[in-house]
């Protein structure tokens, strides 16, 4: 549900000047999360704050029981691990408690990914009605290549 979007400079906001890469954003957000919500809010830049706000809003809309901090943390780590040329996903929370990341391209291209607290990563990619793939991987610090390739195929212009 985040409103961040891709830019020519990678992960960040679509309006204005070049924005920080996802790795940088992710690292800062992760460290901020570890330091606690209230302290984090005061020390981050405006652009990073918007990402933070979106995630916090999502967490708030679901509540701490449905969207606990460990799940938020793994979502942060995933964002951190995304390559810098990959646009920001639309975030969400699945009914089973997994964080979802969605990318949409033109002509029905779509990639959805659900990340479980333990790092299990379920994904489905649709390039065309006859070109699809899905699978399950484990996320440990690095985003699996097959997932990155799927995202790139979906968001290609």
């Amino acid at each position: 549900m985040t409103t961040v979007s891709s830019s020519a400079y990678g992960f960040g906001y679509s309006v204005g000047a070049p924005t920080p890469a996802v790795g940088e954003v992710g690292r800062r957000l992760e460290s901020l999360l570890k330091g606690g919500f209230s302290e984090a809010k005061q020390s981050i830049s405006a652009s990073v704050s918007r990402v933070y706000d979106e995630l916090q809003a999502l967490a708030h809309s679901y509540g701490a029981v449905e969207f606990p901090e460990p799940v938020q943390r793994v979502a942060m780590a995933f964002l951190e691990a995304l390559p810098t040329d990959v646009p920001a996903p639309d975030l969400g929370l699945d009914s089973d408690g997994e964080v979802t990341f969605d990318w949409a391209g033109t002509n029905g291209r779509m990639m959805t990914l659900a990340l479980r607290e333990d790092g299990r990563l379920s994904y489905a990619c649709r390039i065309s009605p006859s070109d699809k793939q899905n699978g399950t991987k484990v996320f440990v610090n690095a985003v699996p290549n097959v997932v990155v390739e799927c995202i790139r195929q979906v968001v290609v212009r």
């Binding site: 985040t2 979007s5 699945d94 969605d102 949409a104 029905g108 779509m110």
Partner: protein, 175 residues
């Protein structure tokens, strides 16, 4: 008399073995809201079920079609509202009441024509479990293995790709 007893017993056994045993069957007098070839709608209660930006702004995300596991029936199913003989007012009245206990009101519905459901290998069945929601139905045909989430996501993605922003209907007060 013995035959009647046997017949009754056999019928009960058949019912208990049926996957629909936990469902209340529509009576002859009750209208069918979920019918073969009929359209259905999926209620949306979370705003993150809809794309907030990008090329598919306002379109449903795949997660909007995430089926839940029914513990008694031991199967994945996606709850929908049958639209056969159901007025728009009634749909929104249901949207306000069916999850009122959780303080949730439907933010939108996603219109799903029957052909779209069947085109991704799924089908719809009536499931009038609750007396106040006889229009309830379920979309079935999902991979049943708990660990096969990616396969279900693939079907959800196919379904989402077939939807447009115009399939997302907002309640009259928010239009």
């Amino acid at each position: 008399m013995r035959f009647r007893t046997w017949l009754s017993s056999a019928f009960d056994k058949w019912l208990s073995g049926s996957s629909k045993a936990h469902r209340q069957r529509p009576t002859l007098s009750s209208p069918a809201y979920v019918v073969q070839g009929g359209d259905v709608a999926r209620f949306i209660f979370q705003s993150d079920d809809i794309f907030a930006g990008g090329t598919r702004l306002g379109c449903p995300k795949p997660k909007a079609f995430g089926p839940d596991f029914h513990p008694d029936l031991k199967r994945y199913e996606l709850s929908v509202c049958g639209l056969n003989s159901v007025s728009e007012d009634r749909v929104w009245a249901l949207g306000r009441t069916i999850r009122a206990r959780e303080n949730k009101t439907a933010l939108a519905t996603i219109f799903l024509p029957s052909a779209r459901v069947t085109s991704v290998g799924l089908h719809t069945e009536p499931a009038p479990e609750q007396p106040h929601f006889p229009e309830h139905g379920v979309i079935l045909g999902w991979s049943q293995l708990p660990e096969a989430k990616s396969e279900r996501l693939q079907v959800q993605t196919d379904l989402a790709a077939l939807c447009s922003a115009s399939d997302v209907k907002r309640p009259p007060s928010t239009k």
